[in-house]
Structure formats: structure tokens, C-alpha cells
Symmetry: C2
Subunit: 233 residues, 2 copies
Amino acid sequence: MVISKFITRKKAETPEETEQFSQLPIEKKERITEAFINEFAKKGFRAASMNKIVERAGISKGSLFNYFNSKNQLFMYVYKVAFERVKEYLREVREETKDEEFFTRFQKIMEAGVTFIQKHPKLARIYYRILYTGDSPEGATILRELHAESMKFIGSLVKQGVERGEISAEIDVDKAAFILESVLNRFLQVQNQNVLDPSLNLYGASSEESERWIEELVTLLRNWMGESSNEPV
Amino acid sequence: MVISKFITRKKAETPEETEQFSQLPIEKKERITEAFINEFAKKGFRAASMNKIVERAGISKGSLFNYFNSKNQLFMYVYKVAFERVKEYLREVREETKDEEFFTRFQKIMEAGVTFIQKHPKLARIYYRILYTGDSPEGATILRELHAESMKFIGSLVKQGVERGEISAEIDVDKAAFILESVLNRFLQVQNQNVLDPSLNLYGASSEESERWIEELVTLLRNWMGESSNEPV
DNA sequence: CTTAGAAATGACCATGTGGTCAATCTATGA
DNA sequence: TCATAGATTGACCACATGGTCATTTCTAAG
């Protein structure tokens, strides 16, 4: 019966939405997508229940499996949606802060990150979940892409900062990018995960509190790595 | 039948090992614990299968549920074991590097982290998993404790560094600790999660490569925040 | 109003889950 | 040798899972 494995396979599993699903009325599509995101954000991939999703979305199971061939494909679709939104957002921020001085720019990027998480906490949860559960191998692929983009983004900022003389010229660009990316990532993480936040009181903090934190962090970083710093070893 | 809920409850669920389990021959205990760790590291809490664990450990299901009252309690036990080992390790490193200069100390701590992950990759996986799955609420409690410890640890290092004049005195200790902790954490994360490592080539890197990376990172940090740095704003 | 084709449905399936417990085995002491 | 108490077992349970598909419902053209 090995052959049947190949014969009965319906379609390749792509992250793309099925034709049938894409042709649905927008309102219904959105309601369903919302239900997907909620369930995956709450439970992660593996524990997410197709039955619950069906229930939340108010459609029948048969329909769901007409729209998507498998749980995996459904997840890939959700993930792709989230991914696109994040990329879009990154692009906007980069454009908006194009002419700012390096550290001001970095500060605004951090603030934008906070805003994004506050606006889309569910998507953030999905992102942070997939990172470590590693449930869905294809998800990992997309994630790698996303992360690479983020590193490239920060890396280019740093390089530009050096060229403009806003950052000490002798600095190792890659390492500096790594450090900045670490701080940025960690900060957003703490905003999103109360587990990590026993003493900082940043989880669920107000925008004002977050912004003050960011400002102080950036001030610190600026004094450390700003171009007026001492000569390197 | 609400009452039965309380009457039939066997024991409070503590992370402690059961009396019965603790009295097992050490060899058997270790074999079983190993099986636990393997399964949880591979699948995470929710997807880990008690049946598989039983199979791996070579014991019967009845025995397993004699040793631990529930999957949750079993997980708590495993987690506690891992937690103790990490704490123990942290303590050692702190003691060993007591008299070093701040940045040298920080460097050694990073190296120690890498070593730990290389020695106990499974435990690291469990740690990184539980972070975001949030499956087990009690697990989150322990995790918070661990993280708080790590922050306290780095915080005290920084304070000491300032007192000794190895770090610029005007620096905000909390923020500096946050930054250092971010970098440390991120670095270890990248070592452990290939998803995060598209360009850095640190995942599964040799000790030598890791150490060179660490050295360069620390050099950078030292030049930025070392006491010979420029005056703060 | 009829009817053909598409869309939606939910009962159903095999499989796997965490957890139980009466029956069996084992080791010790008399 | 037997009796007894504790440890060990695995068949068994109710339930949930992802996925299927024969049937019903909807829709729109003739």
C-alpha cells in the first residue's frame, strides 16, 4: 500500500490560500482568519484544535478542510499573513526614519516595535511560540527569513551610521548589529512575555513607561558607542 | 458529582519526586529521568507522550503513574532537576571568577553558558520551549524564578564593577544589566536554535569559533562601557 | 418551477491521549 | 514452604484528535 501514499495525495502543501478560500466573501474570510489566529496564538501549532477553530469560526469542519487540505497548510497560511504584516511594518518604519540620526532612528524603531506588539499581540505570540516549539518545520523556514531580514535591517542601519560618522568608525559592524538586535529583541520579548518580567515591570506597561525605558536604554547605548567615544583597543 | 472532585484527589501536585520514585535504585532512576528529558526536549510538554516515555524508559504505564500522579507533576519534576543543575552551574561560575575584572568575568560567564548548552543541549531545549509554549503554568513560575536569578546575578556583577571602578560610575546599573543580559541570552539562544542563525553560523559552532565570537563581543562592550569611556550626557 | 453543479455540512473513522485498577509478580520473614 | 505486603503490570476507559465523504442545502440559469 505504499503506492497509495502517492496516488491519494491531493495537492502539494503550499502556504498559499486555496482557490476556494480566496473566493470567499471578505467578511467571512476575515472572521475565519481571526478565529485561526486566536486559536494558534492561544495554543500554539500542536495543541491548537481544528474542532475549536471550526467552532470559533462558525463554519463546519467539512468546509474548513475544503479551504485547507491540512492543519499544517492552514498554519502556513496564517503564518504567511502575519509575516507579510510584519515586513510591511518594517518597511514603513525604515522609510519614515530615513533621515534621522542613527540612535534616534534606533529609538523610533524600538518604539515602533512596541506599538506593533500592542496592536497585534496575537501575532506576536504566534511568532514567539513557533520560535521554540519548532512544531512546524516549514514555519521555521519562514521564521528564518524574517529573522534574517531583521538582522540585515539593523546591520544596514549600523553601516550607514558609521558612514555618516554617527558611530565610531573602528567598530565591528556585525558585532554591533548583533548587540543592538539582541537588545531590541529582548525588549520586545519582555513586553510580550510576562514570564520574563519579574522585576522590570515592563510586561503590559503603558506606552509612556515603555518609551521612558527605551529612551534611557538608547541614551546608554549612545554614550557607549557614539562617535565621541574613546578610541578602541 | 462536584464533591468527588475533591474526595478522589490523591495528592497535591508538587514538583517533588514521589517517595516511591525516590526510593528506586539510582540506576533505574537515572534511566527513567533520561527518558523523560529526552521526550520533553523533543516534543515539549503538550506533545510529549506518556506512552512514549514509558516505552523509552522500559517501564510500565502503571509504574509511571505510581511514581508521578500526572503528566504535569512529572514535568515539574524534570523541570526542577534542570533548574537545580543550572543554578548549581551559575553558582560555580560566580565563585570561580570572583576575583576577575568585570569584563573578563562576563566573558567567562558567556563561555560557561556555551559549555553548559553543549553539555546539556536537551535541558536547554526544554528551557527554551517552556518559555513560549506556556503550557504548564507552574513551569512558568519556576522559569520566572530562574530568570530573576539571572538578572540579579548580572545586576550584582555590574554593581560590583562600578564599585571597583571598572565601569563608568555614571552608568545606570539596571539598564546596563538589561543590555548585558540581552546579549548573553541572545548569544546562547543562537547557539541552541538554528532557526535564529541564518548568517551568523553560530549554531553548532565549535568551541573555538564561539570563543572568538565572545571575545570580540566583549571587546566591543568593554570599549563602549569601560571606565575610560567618554563622559555621559 | 425545474434542475444541475457547487458549496456546506456533520456523522463517522482510526488513532492516540492521559489516566485507572484488578490481577500478577517478587522478595522477605517465619 | 508458605504467607504477606509492596511493587509492577498492561488491558482497559472515556475522550479528543485530524481528517473523510455521502448527503443535504444553496444558487442561479433555463
